[in-house]
Symmetry: C2
Subunit: 363 residues, 2 copies
């Protein structure tokens, strides 16, 4: 056996060993009750949350009162960021943890809605469905969506209508019409110009520091603030720091430093945030226009659900989310901003229930 | 032993096994002649070249006639791009291959000049020197530099004076004054805004395709040209393609498509190239200004060595290198563009000879 082949076998064995362990808790459970449960999973570039809810057949209007049986949290599950194998492990792990916490087996699950970032094409969806199929018994209904859909559902109680803007580590705008048309913009990750995201803001700020150091750009308060935050002593050290770890979330964690500098009057930081607002607003506008959510006169009311750390209200003067809304409402005065009270994983669980009930009613 | 620990031991054994193999050829060589050899290595983000030259103690003016004994080529050795272990393996491998080709042992080596991209800080330099020290006998003089320095030397016959602009997969401007001052700009990789590089050009072009698809930007010929080049059928598939492999060189390989579209009159492609020219020129200007290479009146003559695929003359109308020179000469009319006739690895070997002779003369 060549060393390369040995390594493949070794890795495969390690994986099997781990996955057996993931579901071990099921052996200790007795006969499960038969009312059944739902799993809603929100997998982002920073963290992954899985919610377990009871499966009770009641009407849509009561959905918001569905109790949460268990909640589990894990790290990044965007396959474009951490790779397919790591993403899969994280998702399987966090689902097992949620079920284990409420003492349910996989056989009690009625439906799973996996809303994960990095699902950009039907082939992504199919690949994830295939390995999800191996984990659950045949009767379990499986739905795989982009995480943006769950975020929208978290603000609309599971109804797919309007536009959602997510700006956390990554950013994306996703919209649905009531008759089922959908459209998206941005969400293509940092290489493909996702500049409104937390990663985009932080990368632009880091770039500004390097430019100031090189003599290619104006000096900025970002230099001392970012170096201090990272415990580095010179701008040259930023290069080593940046490439030491390819995690997008690690870069995006610098956003609060940029906001603080902008609030303190730094022009360079201010410009980075203004550009991010323009980027985010232009993504929403593209979706609204393509779907005609604003009506023929451009003034119809439609909801925009705002999700993610970048859009959360800050105490200081600089509120990125509010600036984006101001920018959008200049074009579309009917925009109704919604900041959801529940997290996207709950939106995913609502969607699982919705999709399941539709299939059930159909036949 | 835990599976993690087992993996560490296994990897270490694999490494020892491979490295033993690298130098096996030395056992088959007889007693080596004592005139000695020099190694010059140019390690970029796309490829790594190692040159072996004879060590003959003659004067500086004759340096350009140094014959090449052997040349070996390998892949990327930028530790920021492929990681420390892979970079190290590649460098050790390619040096062994060059020595093996001319039938020399490590004991015949007098000096090694390793010019590798990703060396941005004295700590990078020291880390590489440390493991290089383990490979060669104690008498061998070792020099580790940023690859830009070798590129400059390839255009100035080993003299460190003037500015070099490299634009291949990455880009950097590096300059030296005759009294030993140095300065650099850009070269901080894609996250830190290296937008004039081949990677930068291609990433901007890919971004333009995604924006056109989303409805956030004008439609462009880049869409059909890039999709055809990559054998993809839709812009959504670009996301999967982009993140399937994190190699910067793979993205940068799309530059010729962008040039072709710009030559065919595509406005979006044209804008991407014009922005790259501005970026590259601004890096050079920052270095020239900081070092005062242009003299007090801004009109003194100084060489600018142009290296890398992006700057090579194209047959069509769009010559990025020429545009950059035009842009620089508006500020600094004394600029003398040089397109080197030898490759940077030869520049590295010249530097090894230069540094060695200086140390020899000093003591």
């Amino acid at each position: 056996m060549t060393p390369e082949r040995e390594k493949v076998v070794f890795d495969a064995e390690m994986k099997r060993y781990r996955n057996g362990e993931i579901w071990e808790f099921e052996d200790d459970l007795g006969v499960s009750d038969d009312s059944g449960v739902l799993l809603g999973l929100d997998g982002g570039t920073t963290s992954t949350v899985c919610i377990c809810m009871p499966m009770i057949p009641f009407s849509h209007s009561q959905l918001h009162s569905l109790p949460i049986l268990a909640r589990a949290v894990a790290g990044c599950s965007n396959h474009n960021s951490v790779g397919e194998i790591a993403a899969r492990e994280t998702i399987e792990q966090v689902m097992a943890e949620a079920l284990s916490k409420c003492g349910s087996k996989r056989s009690s699950v009625r439906a799973v809605c996996l809303a994960v970032s990095g699902v950009n094409h039907p082939t992504d969806q199919q690949r994830i469905l295939n390995w999800l199929r191996d984990i659950f018994p045949n009767h379990v209904k499986l739905y795989v969506l982009n995480d943006a859909v769950a975020a929208l559902a978290s603000g609309t109680m599971g109804k797919l209508h309007g536009c959602v803007l997510i700006a956390g580590t990554g950013s994306i705008a996703y919209g649905f019409t009531e008759d089922g048309k959908e459209a998206r913009a941005a969400g293509a990750g940092p290489v493909l110009g996702d500049w409104g995201s937390g990663y985009g803001i932080a990368a632009q700020a880091l770039t500004a520091v390097v430019r100031a150091h090189d003599g290619r750009g104006p000096s900025t308060m970002l230099t001392s603030s970012i170096l201090q935050k990272l415990g580095l002593s010179s701008a040259e050290e930023l290069i080593g720091w940046t490439y030491a770890d390819p995690s997008w979330a690690r870069i995006a964690a610098l956003v609060p430093v940029v906001v603080t500098c902008a609030e303190a009057g730094d022009e360079v930081a201010n410009k980075v945030l203004l550009e991010s607002v323009q980027e985010l607003a232009s993504s929403v506008k593209a979706v609204v226009q393509r779907l005609g959510l604003c009506g023929q006169d451009g003034k119809s009311a439609f909801p925009i659900v705002m999700v993610g750390g970048v859009l959360e209200a800050h105490r200081g003067r600089w509120d990125i989310g509010q600036e984006v809304v101001n920018c959008i409402s200049k074009c579309f005065p009917g925009v109704i901003p919604i900041r959801p009270k529940v997290e996207p994983a709950v939106g995913a669980a609502w969607l699982a229930w919705n999709f399941f009930m539709k299939e059930y009613q159909r036949g």
